[in-house]
Symmetry: C2
Subunit: 236 residues, 2 copies
């Protein structure tokens, strides 16, 4: 409520698409997809709901724009540091997405939605390109570039989504050792499962208790890299 700033520096920005996306991300971060509302958006932007439709076609497009902005940001931040090796490059891209999803958990579902709505939207393509360049530099035979890059892409998105959720669950339980507590509880739940129905899950309950999300995530990446660079087995 400043009485009047010199030139209304940023109080009365004229409502741009960028500004709308920016506030949309804030709402999504605060309360997930349910938190993004044209009315809430309008209130924060000191305008009416209808005004937003001048800059954005509908909610779906707004969600896409928010996703695109964050993914582009995550990838650029990683591309900037020219990696020492292709392996490092892949790790960097993977961790960039991992971190982005950890900060903005709604991204995981949003990416899955875009992927399944129609594959190869701009966002997916951006990630595909970013991962693929490193795959190409890795010495993988050219005729398996597409397969290898796709496999990596799917793993990264899926695993980042779950591990990020893991991290959030742990955090939600409070500060300090709650993360360990969370894993311990989950592990005990696994050990209490029916031995006939869940023998395997019971067997790895301890591994799951002791795992670190980030390490686990990178171990998966390493596993796929191994598969890509090893000679494929006899029959596929």
């Amino acid at each position: 409520m400043a009485t009047r700033t010199r030139r209304a520096e940023r109080r009365e920005e004229p409502l741009s698409r960028e500004r709308i996306v920016e506030v949309a991300v804030e709402l999504l971060d605060a309360a997930g997809e349910g938190g993004l509302t044209f009315r809430a958006l309008a209130e924060r932007l000191a305008t009416g709901p209808g005004a937003i439709y001048w800059h954005v076609a509908n909610k779906s497009e707004l969600l896409d724009a928010a996703t695109d902005a964050l993914v582009a940001g995550a990838l650029e931040a990683r591309d900037a540091r020219s990696p020492k090796s292709p392996r490092d490059g892949i790790r960097a891209v993977a961790l960039g997405l991992y971190d982005a999803i950890e900060v903005h958990p709604w991204l995981a579902v949003q990416l899955a939605t875009q992927l399944s709505r129609s594959p190869w939207q701009p966002v997916t393509l951006r990630i595909f390109e970013s991962v693929g360049r490193q795959v190409g530099a890795l010495g993988v035979p050219e005729n398996s570039w597409f397969t290898a890059t796709s496999a990596l892409l799917h793993y990264i998105l899926g695993a980042a989504g779950q591990n990020a959720a893991n991290a959030v669950s742990g955090r939600a339980l409070g500060p300090g050792s709650s993360r360990a507590q969370f894993l311990d509880d989950a592990s005990k739940t696994w050990e209490a499962l029916d031995p006939d129905d869940y023998p395997f899950t019971r067997a790895v309950a301890a591994q799951m208790r002791d795992h670190d999300d980030r390490e686990q995530f990178l171990a998966g990446v390493a596993l796929i890299l191994t598969g890509m660079t090893a000679a494929p087995p006899s029959s596929a």
Copy 2:
């Protein structure tokens, strides 16, 4: 509008949770998540919206129940055929989920939502167990069971989601050769991308045009199996 059947055989089933889930799946198949509405559900079940809440806590639980039912079905169908080898077993589970997502595309997003909401829901656990048993039988060192199974799980869900979407996109364009046409169009789009921004994507445009979704999906599974069974490289 039959005037009166002998004993109201199945006309007037007393509205059970199973029946509700069954109709929910029909609605989801017909029009995606937007198609599932308590009012539409009530109409199809010849009752009021409130009645449904006697059997189901809310929409989210209903969605979970529908997902659980279909995943359980897909996994049981595969478990029944005792596989010749662990590799075959993994392929069978993977394809079972692939097919389920192809028939019910909304499953992909729903699984991602469950995964990211909190990991290790019943559905995830079921898949994890199913995949993990075969991983255990594969001769993978026990201390990497958790990592290996997680990697496979994430790949399967992510890739099945995208490839199934691919299949649906192709189908939506009409019968016959439209699938090839769809891939051809997409491939041309890739070739027309900016050479500076998308060198890799342009380079694999032809591979993407010629790929078969199902083969591609299985090639990814094979790649991860290779990575699991090969000795890991020096530094991970």
